[in-house]
C-alpha cells in the first residue's frame, strides 16, 4: 500500500486531523489503529470542553475549539452543549488564587467570573453549598458526546475514501535520508509521503524506535465511573478543587465522576478498589441523593502528560514529513477540533490557523523551552 499520509492512531486527534484534511480535499489517507477507534483515551474521557486555562497557548487553542464545536455538532450530529463549568472552593485561599486567574481569563476573552455559594446554588440545582466559600463559573465551557464526536466524523471520512486499518500495531516510522517514507507494522510496511504520529502514549515508543528521541511523555493512570442514566439534574461540569475531582451529567444522562488518586506513572493503576469509594464520598457531600444511584461502569485510562502539561503539536524539525500530535495531558478531546485544524494546516504546508500553537512544536521538549500550565484536574 502506498499512501499520501499515514496517521498512527484512530483516536479523536487522528480522526479530527483526517476530517480537516478531507474537508480540504486531501483524501489519500490511511489511519492505522492498534485496537479499535477510540479505544485509547478518547472513549474514556470526561467529555468536558473549556477555554479557562492558565496559559495563553491553551486559551487561544481552546477558544478556536469552542468556535468549532457547535459547527461540528451541527454538521456531524454530535451532541454538544455549552453548559458551563463551575469550580467549587471550600477554602478561602483557593478562591483568592482564582481571582487572579479570572482576571487573566477576562483579559484574554474567556468570560469566567467569581460566584457566591448562592449563585452556585442557582447554577447547580440540588447542590448543598454549606461547605463552599465560593466558586468560579465559566459559561463558555461545555461538553460533548465523546462517542459521536469520533464515530460520526470517522464514518464520514471513510465514506470519502479514507482507509482505516484496525488491530494493527505500528512498530516504527520508516525514515530515509531525513524524510519519513512510511511505517512498519506487525502486518507489514505501509508506504506514505507523510506520517502523523497521534498514538497517545504509544507515540513515545514509536518515536524512540524511529529517531531515538524521547518526548518525555508520562502515562498517569486515572479513574472514572459513570452511573445509570437519569433525566437532567444539573448542567455544568463541576470541579471540587480541594480533592481534584469532577462530576458531569453527560448528555445521555449518566453522572460521570473522576477523582484523583495517587498512582505511579507508566504503570497499571493500583488503587482501583479505593476509587469508587473516594469518588462517591467526594460527591455525596454535595449531592446526598447520588448515594441512591447505581454505578453502571467503572474504568481506568491515562493522562498522557508532557513535562510542561502542554501538547506536542506540529512537525519535527529534524525529520521531514513527520508530524506529531500527542501529550494532551488530559485535554485532547476538548482540543481536538482546533488541533485537527492546525495539524491539517501543517500537513498541507500552511501556517497554523492559531498562530500561538507554534509555541507547542515538539522540538521544545528536545530544546527544553517549556510552557506553563497548572490547571489539570481529575
Amino acid at each position: 500500500m502506498k499512501k499520501g499520509l499515514v496517521i498512527i492512531g484512530a483516536g479523536i486527534i487522528g480522526v479530527m486531523t483526517a476530517l480537516n484534511l478531507v474537508e480540504k480535499g486531501y483524501r489519500d489517507i490511511v489511519i492505522v489503529e492498534k485496537k479499535y477507534p477510540g479505544s485509547g483515551g478518547s472513549f474514556r474521557c470526561a467529555t468536558g470542553i473549556r477555554a479557562s486555562f492558565t496559559s495563553l497557548e491553551h486559551v487561544e487553542l481552546m477558544k478556536r475549539s469552542i468556535q468549532l464545536w457547535p459547527l461540528l455538532s451541527e454538521k456531524y450530529n454530535i451532541p454538544y452543549a455549552r453548559h458551563g463549568y463551575v469550580w467549587l472552593f471550600t477554602r478561602e485561599e483557593d478562591l483568592e488564587m482564582f481571582r487572579c486567574i479570572v482576571d487573566f481569563h477576562n483579559k484574554n476573552g474567556v468570560p469566567t467570573r467569581i460566584v457566591s455559594p448562592e449563585e452556585i446554588a442557582e447554577l447547580v440545582p440540588t447542590i448543598k453549598t454549606d461547605q463552599l466559600v465560593g466558586g468560579v463559573y465559566d459559561p463558555l465551557a461545555g461538553k460533548a458526546s465523546c462517542f459521536k464526536a469520533l464515530l460520526n466524523p470517522l464514518a464520514y471520512i471513510l465514506r470519502k475514501g479514507v482507509k482505516l486499518v484496525e488491530s494493527t500495531t505500528v512498530y516504527k516510522v520508516l525514515i530515509e535520508s531525513g524524510r519519513a517514507r512510511g511505517v512498519l507494522t506487525d502486518k507489514g510496511v505501509i508506504e506514505a509521503d507523510k506520517v502523523l504520529v497521534a498514538a497517545g502514549y504509544g507515540s513515545k515508543k514509536i518515536l524512540r524506535e524511529s529517531i531515538g528521541v524521547d518526548l518525555g511523555l508520562r502515562n498517569i493512570p486515572k479513574h472514572a465511573l459513570i452511573t445509570e442514566g437519569y433525566q437532567g439534574v444539573f448542567k455544568p461540569l463541576l470541579i471540587d478543587w480541594e480533592t481534584s475531582s469532577y462530576i458531569v451529567q453527560v448528555l445521555h444522562g449518566g453522572f460521570l465522576i473522576g477523582s484523583s488518586l495517587p498512582e505511579e506513572p507508566d504503570k497499571p493503576p493500583r488503587s482501583r478498589l479505593k476509587y469508587p469509594v473516594k469518588a462517591v464520598n467526594v460527591w455525596i457531600r454535595y449531592f446526598p441523593w447520588l448515594a441512591y444511584t447505581n454505578i453502571m461502569r467503572y474504568w481506568t485510562g491515562y493522562y498522557v502528560m508532557t513535562p510542561d502539561h502542554h501538547p506536542l503539536i506540529g512537525p519535527l524539525s529534524t525529520v521531514e514529513n513527520l508530524y506529531i500530535a500527542t501529550g494532551f495531558s488530559g485535554h485532547g478531546f476538548m482540543m481536538s477540533p482546533a488541533v485537527g485544524e492546525v495539524m491539517a494546516n501543517y500537513i498541507l504546508g500552511e501556517k497554523p490557523n492559531v498562530p500561538l500553537v507554534e509555541h507547542l512544536l515538539p522540538d521544545r521538549i528536545i530544546k527544553g523551552r517549556l510552557v506553563k500550565e497548572i490547571a489539570v484536574f481529575g
Binding site: 440540588t126 437519569y230 439534574v233 493500583r270 482501583r272 478498589l273 446526598p288 441512591y292 444511584t293 447505581n294
Partner: protein
C-alpha cells in the same frame, strides 16, 4: 387484568409456603403480597404485566429474566429508581411506581444512610450460591476452612430453587432428586457451619489486585472487602433472547423467568402459551407449565429434531403438546401484552417460507433458546477469555482443575460454559478439592483420589453421552493443562 389472581393454589409437586400477608402500593393502588416473595411476583399474581417503558417512553416492557439480569422491570421503589423489582423482596407498605422512560434522579433522598465498612479475610471466597458454589462451600466447610459465600439474590440456591424435576444421572451426583430439594438441603448444611459465612443480596462488583474482592451489600447496607486466599466464581448464566418483530412485548419471557414465577413463587405466568426451543429447558418448562395449569398450544423448534432428552419430549407429547419442527417465531402481536404469536416454517437457509405462517392466540411466549455465561467478573479480573458458541458465549480458559489464568481464581458451573446442574455440582467439587489441596487442608491423598474419580466420571462417563457432545466439545476448547496455562500467564500462548 389487575384484580384477578394468578396464584397457583394446587400443584402436583410443590406446596407453596407463603409468608405473612402484607399490603404495598403500586402506582398508589394497594396490592396484596406475601413476605418472602418479590415485588414483581406479587404484581404478576395480581395481573399486572407491564413493569416499565423503554428509555424513549414508548415501548412497554414486561418480566423477562426474573433474576435481576435483564433490566426490563426497572421501577421506582421507595423513591429509588432503577430498582429491579424481580429480585426486590416485598415489604409492608412499600410504595412502588412504574418507571416510564429515563427516570428522574432520586432527588427526594436527601439523607445518606451510613454504610458499614468491613474487611474480611477468608481461606476461600465463593461468588455465587448456585449448584457449583453450594457444593464447593460444603466441601471446603467440611474440611474446616474459613469460607465466605456471596450471592446477589435474597436466598441461596441459584437456579436450583426453581428446578422441580428430578435430576438424571447417578444417585451419587444427585440423580433422582428434585433441584429445589437439593438447594434446600445444601443451604441448610452450609448455613449450619460455623466456619462458613453467607452474605446474601451481596454484589461482588470486582476482583482487584492480590485477588481482593469488593462486595456491595443491600439490606443492611454494607461494603465488604474480602481478602481471600482463593476464589471460586460460579456466577451462572442468563437467558438469551431472539430477534423477531415485537420481541419486547410483555408476555414474552425467558423460560427460566417463567420457572421463577411458577415454581418459586407459585404464580401462573399466563393462561395460554407457546414455547420456542426444544432443548432440555424448553421441554422441562413445557411440562412445568402444564403442571401449573397453563395450556401449552405448541412448541416450535427450528431444527428438524428434538434438542433435549427424548424422555422429556415423550412425556409432554403424551400430554398432547404439538411440536412444530423447522419452525420458529417470526412475530408477536398485541398492544401492551402478547395477544397472538406467529411462527413460520424455515427453509434450508433458516429463512421463513412464505405462506407457512401459523398464528396462535396466546398471552405467553416462552423463549428457551439458550443461555449466555455471566462472564463479566472474569473479564474484569483480566482472565484469559475465549468465545465458544457451544458454551453460550465468552468463558474463561481454565485448567482441568478449573483454575483460570488468574492464579487462585477458579470457575465452575454455567459461568464456565453453559451445561447442566449436574456438571455444575461436579465442576464445583473439583474446584473446591483443588482449592483445598492448594491450601493444604484435609488428607492430601484422599482429596486427590476423590478429585480423580470426579474427573473420570465427568469426562469419561457423563460427558460421553451424545446428547451433551456439543457442550463437551466446547469445554475441550477451553480446558488446558497446567503447563499450557503457565504459558498463557506468561503471554507465550
Amino acid at each position: 387484568m389487575p384484580g384477578s389472581s394468578y396464584r397457583i393454589v394446587e400443584h402436583p409437586v410443590i406446596s407453596f409456603k407463603r409468608g405473612r400477608r402484607v399490603v404495598f402500593y403500586y402506582n398508589d393502588r394497594p396490592v396484596e403480597a406475601y413476605i418472602g416473595e418479590t415485588i414483581l411476583a406479587a404484581l404478576y399474581a395480581a395481573g399486572y404485566r407491564v413493569f416499565s417503558y423503554s428509555l424513549d417512553g414508548k415501548r412497554p416492557r414486561g418480566a423477562f429474566c426474573m433474576i435481576g439480569k435483564c433490566g426490563s422491570c426497572l421501577s421506582i421503589v421507595d423513591g429509588v429508581p432503577n430498582t429491579r423489582i424481580c429480585i426486590e423482596p416485598v415489604r409492608e407498605g412499600v410504595r412502588v411506581y412504574r418507571q416510564e422512560g429515563l427516570p428522574t434522579a432520586p432527588l427526594s433522598k436527601n439523607v445518606v444512610e451510613p454504610v458499614e465498612w468491613e474487611e474480611a479475610e477468608a481461606d476461600a471466597l465463593i461468588i455465587g450460591g448456585g449448584p457449583a458454589g453450594l457444593i464447593a462451600a460444603k466441601t471446603l466447610g467440611e474440611l474446616g476452612l474459613d469460607v465466605v459465600v456471596v450471592d446477589d439474590q435474597p436466598r441461596l440456591g441459584g437456579q436450583l430453587v426453581k428446578q422441580t424435576h428430578r435430576f438424571f444421572g447417578s444417585r451419587e451426583y444427585w440423580g433422582g432428586i428434585r433441584g429445589y430439594v437439593i438447594a434446600e438441603k445444601l443451604a441448610r448444611e452450609i448455613m449450619g457451619m460455623k466456619n462458613v459465612r453467607v452474605i446474601l443480596q451481596g454484589y461482588a462488583y470486582g476482583i482487584y489486585s492480590d485477588n481482593r474482592v469488593g462486595v456491595a451489600v443491600r439490606n443492611p447496607l454494607k461494603h465488604v472487602i474480602v481478602k481471600p486466599k482463593m476464589i471460586l466464581a460460579g456466577t451462572g448464566a442468563c437467558e438469551k433472547t431472539l430477534w423477531f418483530e415485537n420481541n419486547d412485548l410483555p408476555g414474552i419471557m425467558g423460560a427460566g423467568g417463567a420457572q421463577t414465577l411458577m415454581n418459586e413463587y407459585g404464580v401462573r405466568p399466563g393462561d395460554e402459551a407457546l414455547v420456542i426451543g426444544s432443548g432440555n429447558v424448553g421441554l422441562i418448562v413445557t411440562y412445568q407449565l402444564l403442571q401449573a395449569g397453563v395450556r401449552v398450544k405448541g412448541l416450535a423448534e427450528i431444527m428438524d429434531h428434538i434438542g433435549g432428552w427424548f424422555v422429556h419430549a415423550a412425556k409432554i407429547r403424551r400430554l398432547g403438546v404439538e411440536f412444530y419442527f423447522k419452525h420458529t417465531i417470526i412475530k408477536a402481536i398485541g398492544s401492551d401484552r402478547v395477544e397472538k404469536a406467529v411462527i413460520a416454517e424455515m427453509d434450508e437457509n433458516y429463512q421463513p417460507i412464505p405462506g407457512s405462517e401459523k398464528v396462535f392466540d396466546v398471552d405467553l411466549v416462552l423463549l428457551a433458546v439458550g443461555l449466555q455465561p455471566n462472564y463479566s467478573l472474569f473479564s474484569q479480573a483480566g482472565a484469559a477469555m475465549k468465545y465458544v458458541p457451544e458454551l453460550g458465549g465468552l468463558v474463561p480458559v481454565r485448567t482441568w482443575f478449573m483454575e483460570t489464568s488468574i492464579p487462585g481464581l477458579y470457575v465452575a458451573g454455567d459461568s464456565s460454559g453453559v451445561e447442566e446442574a449436574t456438571t455444575a455440582f461436579i465442576e464445583g467439587e473439583i474446584a473446591a478439592l483443588s482449592i483445598a489441596l492448594r491450601l493444604g487442608a484435609g488428607n492430601r491423598g484422599v482429596l486427590i483420589e476423590k478429585r480423580r474419580k470426579l474427573l473420570d466420571y465427568l469426562w469419561k462417563e457423563y460427558r460421553q453421552s451424545p446428547v451433551v457432545s456439543r457442550a463437551r466439545m466446547g469445554k475441550l476448547k477451553v480446558t488446558v493443562s497446567e503447563e499450557e496455562m503457565e504459558k498463557i500467564r506468561r503471554g507465550e500462548a
